[in-house]
């Protein structure tokens, strides 16, 4: 790599307004990590363009000079997807933050990538509409990042992921061409390339405009809180709700450690002696909700809930949810550091997986709180540790890695909504054999033949996997040999 910081800054200062180019060491430090602060790298330079045309100029230049480009949205990502490249440009899209249009008749909003998730719903509210995906970082995270990660939230079972709620994206290719994928109708021509772009972690192009689907704000929402003496019984209650034909808007589970932490933090009114609680929300018209919440209550009681409460009023409903939505920071108060995992498992494996996580927790000597999007099988174990204790971060990472490999072994996946980034790149080797990984690399090469966009993220090289495999196959045995492989 020949180019130095000063001469690169001079090039970009010719191209962009001076406040778009950040190159002094002390000013670069705030950009050295995203939401996964355990990984840090100082980029060669940070660019903060104001316009799509400026993004095009930057990419054309980087393409010509073969300079790596890492895109960054709000920097709230939890897998290190926006971890800078030491010899590359960190391209922040935060200033592309306009809501271009709200089309209330067709229930669509056209927004720039730097628009915050919650701001879309705020802009749609006067029309009685909202944007459904609600990752817990929704106050801060931006739509561009949501597209890059295919972000989820607590309402995915009924309303889907980002990919179900984005109809069109405009993308700048690595060589600076502006292309539109998807359609404002219900389908587009040719291969559905939007499916590849959503969740591609900034590896295929830079998203500069997004058209999202808006939904009518439901007339009423109501939530039931059920307490259980046994986590496994809570898991069975989830299956029972689904079996009875109910599709809740939200269905969340918290184990004892996480619910106690949340109760201490926000006083949500959770029963602190319960082994687990379930929050089940239904939404729709007034009469529909009244009818359905009574059914939910009965199913929960019949499935062995010790106690079921429905929110008395909107304030109590918000309080029940506040506990869940603040679960991560609440658990964060229990230890100096926590490490948030993001596996997905078939729901019927929940009991087994939680028992095994409990055993691992003892083995590693680190506590683990579990928060679970029970409706869609997305599990967030939060491993508590203290980075100031020698070797504890490494232990937490190894514990986390084992959890993810367990998720794969029971037929699930290493990441449900946070992305692979740099964090889970080794576990990709556990999930995918070589031909699949080769295919991913070949797909990337179609969009980015010189591997300039977010290089080294999301898809491990086969060499890396060979090395990782050698480390992890002890005495010729895979982990969890007792489990049937899927």
């Amino acid at each position: 790599m020949g180019i130095d910081r000063q001469s690169l800054a001079a090039e970009f200062l010719n191209m962009l307004p001076s406040d778009c180019v950040i190159y002094r060491q002390e000013e670069l430090i705030p950009f050295e990590c995203d939401g996964l602060s355990a990984y840090r790298k100082v980029p060669l330079i940070v660019l903060l363009p104001y316009t799509v045309e400026q993004v095009e100029l930057v990419l054309k230049y980087c393409h010509r000079q073969k300079i790596p480009v890492v895109a960054r949205g709000a920097g709230t990502g939890l897998s290190g997807g926006a971890l800078p490249h030491e010899e590359g440009v960190l391209l922040s899209l935060a200033r592309l933050n306009k809501i271009v249009e709200v089309d209330s008749e067709n229930r669509l909003a056209r927004v720039q990538p730097g628009v915050r998730n919650l701001a879309v719903s705020e802009a749609a509210k006067p029309y009685g509409l909202y944007y459904a995906p609600d990752p817990s970082s929704q106050i801060a995270c931006s739509i561009g990042g949501n597209v890059a990660e295919n972000a989820g939230g607590v309402h995915c079972l009924k309303y889907g992921l980002t990919l179900h709620n984005v109809v069109q994206v405009t993308l700048i290719t690595i060589d600076g061409e502006r292309l539109t994928f998807g359609s404002t109708g219900l389908d587009g021509p040719g291969l559905d390339l939007l499916t590849l772009i959503t969740g591609s972690e900034g590896m295929l192009g830079l998203v500069v405009e997004v058209v999202v689907k808006l939904l009518p704000i439901p007339e009423r929402q109501q939530v039931a809180l059920a307490a259980f003496d046994d986590v496994e019984i809570a898991g069975k209650a989830v299956a029972e709700i689904i079996a009875k034909g109910i599709l809740p808007a939200g269905l969340e589970m918290m184990d004892n450690l996480s619910l106690r932490a949340a109760e201490d933090f926000v006083h949500a009114g959770y029963p602190t002696d319960a082994a687990a609680i379930l929050l089940c929300e239904v939404d729709g018209s007034e009469d529909e909700v009244s009818e359905e919440i009574m059914r939910v209550r009965q199913i929960l009681l019949d499935s062995g809930a010790r106690e079921v409460r429905t929110a008395e009023d909107e304030t109590e409903r918000m309080r029940f949810w506040a506990g869940r939505k603040n679960a991560f920071p609440a658990v964060g108060r229990l230890a100096p550091d926590y490490y948030c995992m993001d596996g997905t498992i078939p729901r019927n494996q929940l009991g087994k997986v939680l028992t095994m996580i409990g055993e691992m927790s003892e083995k590693f000597g680190l506590p683990c709180a579990n928060v679970f999007h029970a409706g869609d099988g997305n599990l967030h174990p939060l491993i508590l540790y203290d980075a100031n204790n020698e070797g504890e971060l490494e232990k937490a990472e190894e514990f986390g890695g084992e959890i993810l490999e367990l998720c794969v072994a029971v037929g699930g996946t290493i990441t449900g909504e946070h992305g692979v980034g740099i964090e889970k790149i080794n576990q990709m080797c556990a999930q995918f054999p070589d031909p699949e990984l080769e295919t991913f690399h070949a797909v990337k090469a179609v969009f980015d033949p010189h591997n300039l966009l977010n290089p080294g993220k999301a898809i491990p090289t086969l060499a890396r996997c060979a090395e990782f495999g050698a480390m992890h196959v002890h005495a010729g045995k895979l982990r969890f040999p007792e489990l049937e492989r899927f």
Binding site: E105, R107, G128, N150, G152, C156, L157, G160, L161, H164, L179, T180, F181, S183, G185, L186, D187, P189, G190, L191, D192, L193, T195, L196, G199, P216, P218, E219, E240, I242, G245, L247, G284, S285, D287, E288, T344, P346, N348, H373, D376, G377, N378, G411, G412, T413, T415, E417, G419, V420, K424, Q431, F432, P435, T439, A442, V443, K444, V446, F447
Partner: protein
């Protein structure tokens, strides 16, 4: 009745034979959508109908996994027995169709705006690619962001990227009751009334509009239907729910014309300056048009509104059937074809010429 059978190994060797002979293959399930797409030259047929059977179905997981050749009818019967359904309501042309074909064609029925499309509901696949490799992408869980979403890319790819040996699909509870209401208004007033009902979150699951007949399907109890009827001043139709099935399968009289049938996909409120009548579904998002106008004229009209047009049935099938692509996007598509099918084995030219 054929028996359940995993034919991946046989199909894999057929691919290897074709590679050795440098021939190409026409993929066929039940053949119900043979009419769809561009005309193919003489080709060996790769019959996928024997690779069939439900591999796993756990109603409480809301996922079904089946081999590509499994008849839609068989899948729907299994789901029905558990009070569930394929939310995209796939068409059964000629009363046939396989699940692999339904995904590959990417077509949805009247429920699509409310239930989702094949790409929305496809969770995972086992793919046999053009090098004879068997690979798995996605899985059986709803949230999965590990690696690029290769499975969903297969929905609507017309079998040009590989053989769908197995598919895992999200299923949903089937409404206990559905009813049809007639919207007795002139077309414009009906469209805006349906729009208002959607904005009010009424449980609409299908819409139909042709000339002076407008109808909607609602998933609700009879009691609730009464409330909705009086709120919006609507009449219950004497039409049975079978009407929607006929619409889905193109069995209505409208679909029996000998002319060229166009499928237009647009933003629901987009105006189209046409004198021919359009049958509309999806509250205006999908329009069926019989017309002998030149293809370019129809495509231009639709494209100006940000939509796209497919020459669905009849007419000359040697030119463009699917909407022409931006040259760079066509290039990306070609690049992806080379990743999955580098020797051009599968359905060459059926989706786009030279692809």
């Amino acid at each position: 009745m054929s028996v359940d059978q995993d034919q991946s190994t046989q199909l894999q060797s057929s691919i290897k034979d074709a590679l050795a002979e440098q021939s190409s293959l026409r993929l066929i399930g039940s053949g119900s959508k043979d009419f769809y797409g561009r005309e193919l030259g003489p080709q060996s047929v790769l019959d996928l109908s024997g690779n069939r059977g439900i591999v796993s179905y756990e109603p409480t997981e809301l996922v079904i996994t089946a081999r590509g050749g499994t008849p839609l009818e068989e899948i729907e019967a299994a789901l029905e027995a558990q009070g569930q359904m394929l939310p995209f309501e796939p068409p059964h042309f000629d009363d046939k169709g396989t699940i692999g074909g339904a995904i590959a064609a990417g077509l949805s029925g009247p429920r699509r705006p409310w239930g989702g499309s094949p790409r929305d509901l496809l969770l995972g696949i086992k793919l046999l690619d053009g090098q004879g490799r068997i690979m798995s992408f996605g899985g059986q869980v709803m949230k999965n962001v590990a690696g690029y979403d290769i499975s969903r890319l297969m929905a609507g790819a017309m079998g040009t990227l590989g053989v769908l040996l197995e598919v895992s699909i999200k299923v949903l509870p089937k409404p206990v009751e559905e009813h049809t209401l007639l919207v007795d208004r002139d077309p414009d007033a009906a469209t805006s009334l349906i729009g208002a009902m959607i904005a009010d979150s009424q449980p609409i699951t299908a819409s139909y509009s042709l000339a002076d007949k407008q109808a909607i399907r609602l998933a609700c109890s009879h009691q609730r239907l009464g409330t909705i009827r009086s709120r919006y001043g609507l009449q219950e139709s004497t039409e049975s729910t079978g009407f929607w099935q006929q619409l889905r399968d193109h069995k209505l009289d409208f679909f029996q014309q000998p002319k060229t049938l166009w499928r237009l996909s647009l933003k629901p409120t987009s105006p189209l300056e046409l004198t021919e009548p359009c049958l509309q579904e999806w509250s205006g998002g999908l329009r069926w048009l019989y017309s002998e106008r030149p293809a370019a004229e129809i495509r231009n009209l639709v494209e100006r509104q940000g939509g796209h047009a497919i020459q669905f049935r009849n007419g000359d099938r040697s030119g463009d059937i699917f909407h022409p692509l931006h040259p760079r996007i066509a290039g990306i598509q070609q690049g992806l074809k080379a990743v999955f099918d580098p020797h051009g084995l599968f359905n060459p030219g059926r989706h786009y010429a030279n692809y």
